[in-house]
C-alpha cells in the first residue's frame, strides 16, 4: 500500500498511523528539511517547483521498483512545492517492512533516486542572489 503526494505543506502528524502495519516491525522515515546554509552562505528560503504530473508518475515508478525489491508493507513519498522556510520539511519518505534492514534500504533507495530523477527544482534565495540548485557545474 503506497501513498504518493505533492503538497504545499507537509503534515507530519498522522504519518506513523498511516505507515503502521500489523506485519511491520521496522519503519524508516526520512525527512529532508531546509538548512540555513548552502555553499557556506546563508539561505533565507527555498522555492520548489515541480512538473507535477511527471513528478508523481516518476515517484510512482520508484515506489513500484522499491516494492519489487524489498518486502514493503507500507510506502509513503511526499514532496512539498512552493515557498519553504528554514527548518520546514520539504520531503518525507517512509517505508514499513517486517524487518528493519529492508526498511532502511528501501528508504535510502527512494530518497536517493527521487533526488536523481523526479522533476522537481529547488531555488535557493540568498541575501543577494538566487541559485537553481544543481543547474550549473
Amino acid at each position: 500500500m503506497k501513498k504518493i503526494k505533492l503538497v504545499s505543506k507537509i503534515e507530519l502528524a498522522g504519518l506513523y498511523d498511516w505507515l503502521q502495519h500489523p506485519e511491520a516491525g521496522g519503519i524508516d522515515l526520512f525527512i529532508g528539511s531546509v538548512r540555513n546554509h548552502a555553499q557556506g552562505k546563508e539561505v533565507l528560503k527555498l522555492v520548489f517547483e515541480g512538473y507535477e504530473p511527471m513528478a508523481l508518475h516518476q515517484m510512482e515508478k520508484l515506489a513500484d521498483i522499491a516494492a519489487g525489491r524489498w518486502p514493503v508493507k507500507k510506502l509513503l513519498m511526499v514532496h512539498a512545492l512552493g515557498i519553504k522556510n528554514i527548518g520546514e520539511p520539504v520531503v518525507v519518505i517512509g517505508v514499513a517492512c517486517a524487518h528493519r534492514d529492508d526498511a532502511f534500504e528501501a528508504c535510502r533507495f527512494l530518497i536517493d533516486e527521487l533526488k536523481k530523477t523526479v522533476p522537481i527544482w529547488k531555488k535557493e534565495y540568498f541575501t543577494d542572489h538566487t541559485v537553481w540548485v544543481n543547474a550549473h557545474p
Binding site: V91, K115, N134, H136
Partner: protein
C-alpha cells in the same frame, strides 16, 4: 509544437512554454536539443538537459511529433 519549461530553463527562455516555429523541422529528441542549444546557447552551460516525452525521460533517437506532451527537464534538485 509546444515545449513545457521548468526551473532555470523557464528563466533562460523567459516564458512558461516554448512554442516552436511552424517550420522547425524537428523530428527527434536530439533534433530538439540541437535546436534549443542553437537558439538558447545558455542551455549549453547547464549540467544536463533532458527531454521528457509524455512524462518519461526520452532517449535522443526517440521520434517526437505534435500531440505529445514534451517538456524540457533541466538538472533536477528535489529532496
Amino acid at each position: 509544437m509546444d515545449i513545457l519549461l521548468f526551473g532555470i530553463a523557464r528563466e533562460i527562455i523567459g516564458d512558461q512554454k516554448l512554442r516552436l516555429p511552424g517550420d522547425h523541422g524537428i523530428d527527434t529528441v536530439m533534433g530538439l536539443k540541437t535546436w534549443l542549444l542553437n537558439n538558447y546557447p545558455q542551455m549549453g552551460n547547464l549540467n544536463s538537459l533532458a527531454i521528457a516525452v509524455d512524462q518519461e525521460y526520452a532517449q535522443d533517437d526517440l521520434k517526437i511529433h505534435e500531440g505529445q506532451e514534451i517538456a524540457l527537464i533541466p538538472p533536477v534538485s528535489g529532496g
